[in-house]
């Protein structure tokens, strides 16, 4: 490869070069031809995906003095984020064009966010992690505020920025304590250092608690979730799709790298904190979602509830649990992308389909996309045969295996509560009469990909075996 000794970091390097190419090319593209930028962006993502596959090292490889790692987990997660970002760009294309937001900067910011996620996923030191996180976060703040004439967007961007800065500060503060105690920023060296009982003591735990606060904020776990519903609602739907999907995978990398790779030894210390976060997220997310009338806000609370499941899988501290968390996050991201894809599909010039009642009578308007939305909703509710069921099953199995039957029972009861608000979307789509009969304006390629997205949620539910085996294999390779 042309990158020589840095071949293992090829995805990030490739993407950065491609971003620069798109940035310069976009200068020469007029507003009418902005579609060129879009296709260049898709091409850039395709090249990045190819470089992930083509340069994947056979074994775990460390780079840059051990602050960067490329392993099986990073490849799976990177392919996931690149794919989801590309799909999100496609869903958003016609929507952006109708709302006069079809600008090159949107794609540049989106790709910089992606670069941040790739760096987070491959981080092997606390500083690399922080670097990736900030690259992602700054892009997200700007994306949320992208529609500058929209007061809601501006407000939610401000809220996101201020709260995000606090969370980053908390994370950095925690990092400094951990560095002070262990004398290293690298996860594998931290893992060695904490075996010393003198290091594994209250000051280290204190720092770790601050890091967990930062992580919980990025994940949107209760009680650090306040920004999430407002940002989901305030941002334009295409941006909400972006925030709701790929960054969850990056956040999973964040938690797996820090708490498992670095501080795995302290499992018994962080277990309790993660459990509290998880249980609160499950309960608050599911209960509050019932009261929502805005679908973006409802899906925001539902995301909080899903984070509860992911955190409970991490909480177990077993390989089975980590694999379950990986499977859950990957499949959740696919469902979330599809659900917001339908929200975007229903929107058009000057009209955001963001109220639940906008889904009324969708079955009469478009039986096919109503069926796809039904797949996403039942998938998220965890009803078989959609993939969300197996995601939940894995977590329940891991939690039971770790010896916590009460938590397993709480999880299933929380999903019953959660089923109600997903059912309500289906009820509006199927049982009520349409009030709006306008025709969808999305292109044929968008419709095709959205359909494939829906069918994937069903197909992965009927044949979850290979993805599950992949997740288990990846987690075993890391440990």
């Amino acid at each position: 490869m042309i990158f020589g000794e840095f071949t293992a970091a090829a995805p990030e390097i490739t993407l950065l070069i491609m971003i620069c190419v798109v940035l310069i090319a976009d200068l020469f593209v007029s507003d009418e031809n902005r579609i060129v930028t879009f296709w260049l962006t898709i091409a850039a993502l395709a090249v990045t995906a190819w470089s992930i596959l083509a340069t994947a090292p056979a074994a775990r490889t460390l780079l840059f003095d051990g602050s960067y790692v490329s392993d099986a987990l990073s490849q799976v997660l990177k392919l996931g984020v690149v794919g989801v970002v590309a799909v999100g760009f496609l869903y958003a294309r016609d929507y952006l064009r109708q709302n006069a937001l079809f600008k090159g900067e949107y794609y540049i910011l989106g790709m910089f966010g992606l670069l941040g996620m790739l760096i987070m996923i491959s981080a092997n030191s606390l500083l690399t992690m922080y670097l990736g996180l900030e690259t992602l976060s700054l892009s997200l703040y700007a994306l949320v505020a992208f529609d500058r004439n929209n007061a809601d967007s501006a407000e939610s961007a401000m809220k996101y920025f201020v709260l995000g800065a606090i969370a980053s500060g908390s994370l950095l503060y925690g990092i400094s304590w951990v560095y002070g105690m262990t004398g290293s920023l690298q996860f594998d060296q931290i893992a060695i250092a904490v075996q010393d009982p003198a290091v594994n003591s209250m000051p280290l735990w204190f720092g770790m608690a601050f890091m967990i606060v930062g992580i919980a904020f990025k994940f949107g776990a209760v009680p650090f979730h306040m920004w999430l519903p407002d940002v989901y609602q305030g941002a334009r739907s295409s941006v909400t799709l972006y925030i709701a999907s790929a960054p969850k995978l990056a956040a999973l990398a964040l938690i797996l790298r820090i708490l498992v790779d670095g501080l795995g030894e302290l499992h018994e210390v962080w277990q309790g904190m993660i459990m509290v976060l998880a249980v609160l997220s499950l309960v608050v997310g599911n209960v509050v979602a019932i009261a929502q009338t805005n679908i973006k806000r409802m899906l925001g609370y539902s995301a909080i509830a899903h984070v509860g499941f992911i955190l409970l899988a991490i909480f177990t501290g077993t390989e089975q649990g980590y694999a379950a968390a990986l499977f859950y996050t990957l499949t959740y991201v696919v469902m979330a992308a599809g659900a917001f894809g339908v929200v975007i599909l229903l929107s058009r010039k000057g009209f955001e389909a963001e109220s639940l009642v906008d889904f009324k009578g969708l079955n009469a308007r478009s039986p096919w996309f109503a069926l796809m939305m039904l797949f996403f909703m039942f998938g998220m509710a965890g009803v078989p045969p959609w993939v969300g069921f197996f995601a939940k099953l894995n977590v329940i199995s891991a939690v039971l295996d770790a010896g916590f039957p009460a938590l397993a029972i709480m999880m299933v009861l929380a999903s019953v509560v959660g089923a109600y608000y997903y059912l309500r979307v289906i009820w509006y789509m199927y049982f009520d009469k349409a009030e709006d009969r306008s025709v969808f304006q999305a292109g044929a390629d968008t419709r095709l990909v959205l359909s494939l997205n829906g069918l994937a949620v069903l197909a992965l539910g009927v044949f979850p075996g290979s993805l599950l085996a992949l997740c288990i294999q990846v987690i075993q390779a890391v440990n």
């Binding site: 079955n363 069926l371 078989p384 099953l393 894995n394 199995s397 299933v412 059912l423 199927y430 049982f431």
Partner: protein
């Protein structure tokens, strides 16, 4: 492909595939379009074909063995040791036949009366049929659970889209009630999986469990199955769901979905947690008797025909659970076998009779658009053929000898006599109560003077309706007069089951 090797898969996937094709083609949103008519015929063709494919389950069934027959087994999800494991025995084969028998009748019953989105309607029933066959033939916990839950989705849509006034309330209640009941069963499955390493029902059956574990697992199963049966006091979703569902939905609910609860008790609760079942048997008998007596009184008071039949279903299903849980009180001997067989026969019989009763109400509802008993009277004068059928099915519902309703109830009553006089006394009260609520309804609806103009304008059965009710009438009489083939099919399996239940799991600990 050798048909006899894959018959169960075919019975599951043919209707599901047919339903998916119907959904994909659609009806263009117009009932009268040529495409909508073609879809109707296609749905009927698929369901009739499914029925014919299921016939070898009876003709090729080996009644001399309790082992699983028509077995299919391959790995499904390797990482979790989940298998695609199907098979039938004397308990499940009759229920599968009931499913494939009822579905074509339901499709014919909805022929003209479905005015909106017919393709989706028929597709929902076909998919439901495949899933129900799957539930009765699955021998792997996850496969069973997936099909069991997936079944809720088409029924949720059937009630919600084509139901009556309060359909949304009824269908959400139906979904959440049954979903809540089932999720704990999943936890129990996963718990057992962590002990055995796979989800195979036979591994579950062979693993040793402490009494405490068995009690908790029994409760988890009980919630799932008691809601489905439904047993008092978790029956309240049923009257709402039945009343609001379209005729076809009520028929499938009463005839087949309720049987899944009973089936779950014999397939899972009794063999997997025998000591837990024994511990709770007294409570189960008590709840069953409350259902028989108390719900019988409730039925007596109903003004809505569908509600009356719904409550009568709960009372009749009480016999099923009573029969299943008598075996520890009968002190061995043939009483246990009689109770168990009686419960099973009652499930099949109730499937036929309640289905027929709901179809009869559907016939009236299509014409008058009312389910209130008070809106009718003297229907026999204008619809003599219909009246004959309605009276026959009502007699069967009341347990008249010679009809299928008599066989199962009588067996369970005899078995309960062997157990305890008072059990039998209360159970036998159904012969009076059942006759009272059913025949009183018949008297008010069918007999007497022509009550009003609507009744005077009634037109007797069309050929289509006549065929459907006629087929059901033959089935009801056949099972009533000659139950031997049905009982033979079950007997070896029932004996094996009783043997399994007798094996305490505590000894191996």
């Amino acid at each position: 492909m050798d048909l006899t090797q894959n018959i169960l898969s075919l019975l599951i996937w043919l209707p599901i595939g047919g339903g998916a094709a119907l959904l994909f083609v659609g009806d263009g949103g117009d009932v009268l379009s040529g495409r909508a008519r073609q879809m109707r015929w296609m749905a009927l063709a698929v369901s009739v074909l499914t029925f014919f494919i299921s016939v070898p389950l009876y003709t090729g069934f080996d009644t001399s063995t309790a082992a699983m027959q028509f077995v299919e087994r391959t790995s499904w999800i390797g990482a979790l040791s989940v298998e695609y494991y199907l098979g039938v025995d004397g308990i499940s084969a009759p229920l599968i036949l009931l499913t494939t028998f009822i579905t074509p009748l339901v499709i014919i019953a909805g022929w003209d009366s479905i005015k909106s989105r017919p393709a989706q309607y028929f597709a929902a029933f076909l998919i439901l049929e495949g899933l129900m066959v799957g539930v009765f033939s699955a021998l792997d916990g996850i496969l069973f659970y997936v099909l069991w839950e997936a079944m809720l989705v088409p029924m949720f849509l059937i009630i919600g889209i084509w139901g009556g006034e309060r359909r949304i309330y009824a269908t959400i209640k139906f979904f959440l009630y049954t979903f809540l009941g089932s999720v704990l069963m999943l936890v129990a499955f996963v718990y057992l999986y962590n002990k055995t390493g796979d989800f195979n029902f036979f591994s579950f059956r062979d693993v040793n469990l402490s009494l405490r574990e068995q009690q908790l697992i029994f409760i988890a199963f009980l919630l799932a199955f008691a809601v489905k049966v439904p047993m008092w006091p978790v029956h309240t979703w049923l009257p709402d769901a039945h009343v609001e569902a379209p005729t076809g939905g009520s028929v499938i609910l009463a005839a087949i979905m309720l049987k899944m609860g009973g089936y779950g008790f014999v397939r899972l609760s009794l063999p997997i947690v025998p000591d837990g079942s024994e511990y709770f048997a007294g409570m189960m008998i008590g709840l069953s008797l409350i259902a028989v007596v108390y719900i019988g009184f409730v039925a007596l008071m109903q003004k809505d025909m569908k509600k009356l039949i719904a409550y009568s279903s709960i009372a009749h299903m009480g016999f099923v659970t009573l029969g299943f849980f008598l075996l520890w009180s009968t002190a061995g001997g043939s009483g246990a076998e009689l109770g168990m067989t009686g419960g099973m026969v009652q499930m099949i019989s109730h499937g036929l009779i309640s289905g027929a009763m709901f179809l009869c109400v559907g016939v009236l509802y299509d014409r008058v658009h009312s389910r209130q008993i008070a809106d009718y009277g003297g229907v026999a004068n204008t619809m003599p053929k219909f009246a004959a059928f309605m009276v026959l099915f009502s007699m069967a519902n009341a347990g008249l000898p010679g009809t299928s309703g008599f066989v199962g109830e009588f067996m369970v009553i005899i078995a309960s006599f062997r157990a305890n006089f008072w059990f039998a006394f209360l159970a036998a009260s159904t012969l009076i109560l059942g006759a009272a609520y059913t025949l009183w309804m018949v008297k008010r609806v069918i007999y007497g003077e022509v009550a009003n103009k609507h009744v005077a304008d009634l037109v007797d059965l069309q050929r289509r309706e006549f065929v459907v009710l006629g087929i059901l009438a033959i089935a009801v009489l056949l099972v009533g007069l000659w139950p031997a083939p049905l009982v033979d099919m079950m007997s070896v399996t029932v004996r094996e089951l009783l043997f399994q239940v007798g094996q305490s799991k505590l000894a191996g600990l």
